[in-house]
């Protein structure tokens, strides 16, 4: 694992950080004329988070990734945050116009009786435009993950991640989890109301 950490650290320092910055500028250029976009950002996955993910195991205890440097596809992650839910489809059309999707996923809680994470995720080819010809080919990832979310979906997922996934704090339980689900339901409701008012003004 030390070998993997060293390899990823080199990749992170030499390529991933600059690549994320190039991708952010490139994507911002493509969306320059699109309204109601709060922000477009891209980041390289930190060494700590990459190693954490590389160590993930399946339910039978076997390692989830046999070749994490190639199999983990969100080494570069990007986000487009929109004002309203109606904007998601419009933004998605532009994404699919300029990028090649390998996977597309609408992530919603698995039951209508549950609330939690909402978001649209893509795995996309990294466009040649953002690749520096001087980089070592082996260090350049093929794909990146793009999340398209509303402001409320983004706010909820950031706070949820901060509160739920820190190894140094005790895991949330029982009513605490229900409280998180409640805030997700409130964010979902706020998105619905804002979108309804927005669409009324459009007509």
């Amino acid at each position: 694992m030390i070998g993997l950490e060293k390899k990823y650290s080199e990749k992170f320092d030499w390529v991933l950080q600059s690549l994320a910055s190039n991708l952010e500028s490139h994507t911002q250029g493509l969306f320059a004329n699109e309204p109601r976009i709060d922000r477009i950002s891209a980041r390289a996955k930190s060494v700590e988070r990459f190693i954490g993910k590389a160590n993930t195991r399946n339910s039978d205890g076997s390692p989830k990734y046999s070749d994490p440097l190639r199999q983990i596809q969100d080494q570069i992650g990007a986000r487009i945050i929109t004002f309203y839910r109606s904007d998601i489809d419009r933004v998605s059309n532009v994404v699919e116009r300029y990028f090649k999707p390998i996977e597309t996923q609408e992530i919603v809680p698995d039951s209508e009786w549950k609330f939690g994470y909402f978001g649209k995720h893509y795995i996309l080819f990294i466009p040649s435009d953002v690749i520096d010809p001087n980089w070592e080919k082996e260090l350049i990832p093929e794909f990146f993950e793009l999340q398209v979310k509303t402001l409320f979906e983004h706010a909820w997922s950031e706070a949820n991640h901060d509160l739920s996934y820190k190894p140094e704090i005790a895991p949330l339980e029982g009513d605490e989890l229900r409280q998180l689900a409640f805030t997700s339901a409130q964010a979902w409701g706020a998105d619905n109301i804002f979108d309804k008012l927005f669409r009324k003004n459009q007509n």
Binding site: F99, F125, P127, S128, D129
Partner: protein, 194 residues
Amino acid sequence: MKSATSYKAAHYEDTSFEAGFWKGRAIDKQIGGSEVRLSNYWISEFLKSDFRTTSALGTRRLGVALREAARKSSDLSVKSEIAAVVTLASGLNGESFSIDQFQDRFGLSDAAKNAIRNELTDPRLSSEQFEFNLEEFKLQVPYRSVELDTGVVLSAHSGEFEEVFSREVIDDAGQIVRFSTEGKVITEKLGKAK
């Protein structure tokens, strides 16, 4: 291979069978009359593949490079060559080619090719294949303008410029031109001086 001059070939590679996404290069020498285009049915239906660059992104790259090369060049013949290919490009919708092949097809001079290549973030982008998308091209190069030394600026949709303006050279040196056009006046504006 039955013929050394008429064939199709493809080469794919990757370092991993399990985690890799195979990338390839293809040559199509069986298209009659033109070496520029790859036949789309062969790429998508036979090889079950697709271009890495989307139609809109490839066309945007080309359009932006043409627009910026024409804007930045101080060489009038380069500007004029680029303006001409912008007009001719409107007949290419749906065809597949690279920026290099586009330039060769219209016989651009080395000066014009260099001006266009200088506007790409990486010179290697000029060899990437894509399907030309006229709608996207018009977004990137919507108007073609000609400015005369009298201060007059003529502009029209890039694909229609040659149709709406007729040009006549009226001196022996070929320097002075007369443009003429016809149409109904829709609006007149006063603008700030440049």
